[in-house]
Symmetry: C2
Subunit: 153 residues, 2 copies
Amino acid sequence: MARAQWLTSDEQRAWRAWVASTILIFDALDRQLQQEAGIPHGYYEILARLSESGGRALRMSELAKQTSSSRSRLSHAVARLEERGWVRRRNCDTDRRGQLAELTDAGFAVLAAAAPGHVAAVRKHVIDALEPQQIRQLAEIGEAIVAGAATAG
Amino acid sequence: MARAQWLTSDEQRAWRAWVASTILIFDALDRQLQQEAGIPHGYYEILARLSESGGRALRMSELAKQTSSSRSRLSHAVARLEERGWVRRRNCDTDRRGQLAELTDAGFAVLAAAAPGHVAAVRKHVIDALEPQQIRQLAEIGEAIVAGAATAG
DNA sequence: CGTTATAGGTTGAGAGTTCAACTACTTGTC
DNA sequence: GACAAGTAGTTGAACTCTCAACCTATAACG
């Protein structure tokens, strides 16, 4: 019906495959992390990014960028992580508006405990389903989409 | 840190690009549909699938499959759509447990009004950012992931 | 047949996200 | 310097999603 008129059948096939696969993956990862670590995937990403940063801390806005998150979402998320003692907020030295989110030792321990299961799930649902050249293609496709969004707004 | 040990750098690059691009796309589509039609992307998919079905109606479980949705999610979503008069529930003739979700004329009108903007957004954020051969690759990648999930559970 | 298992679907509570409004600080400009 | 405009971040309400519990109807099996 309607959409067939505006997406070619090749485009529609790609689009629907993308939607279905994406929902599958996110649902699977969310379920796995929720069960094993008690956090959704987005929260895992926050902990992971912090762990990779110098001093295990990042400005809120930088963390939002890295996790493709809105300020609001990140603010709520960090509040929940702070309640559990996995992240701590600190004032920023150079900008009095700023806040640093800092990973605590407890937060790092949670991340370390959750990581193997998470990586295994990514492997199982994504990497292992694809040929090596498809991994490369996927990287290029994802990067093209991100670049397109940055350009076109 | 941790994940670098278990995903190769190529894999990690693909994974991160996929996560970032996926969040971007879904956020953009949700925002567009929410503004122009007042519904999230998942609800649009429900209306679209119903409109493409014979009699503009589907069993709840079939609709859940087609939209990669859980029974619970679909049940809540159809309840909201029903409140607005865009979908109607009917008993299934052949299975007394069953429910049919049927698109109303009002629901069809909403879909028809929302479709052009939605398709334009899909084009802008996905199709136009990719080369034709990447569209084909994306279809194959998505289908491989869906097939993998069906096989491996 | 009667019993148990399974499939179809709904519900309510708890958790996460979004949007708009808001505070507070910084930057640009005249 | 003062004032407008922009940046950083938070908050609360409305909405969606998840999970587990639940009910009903069909299927399987002895």
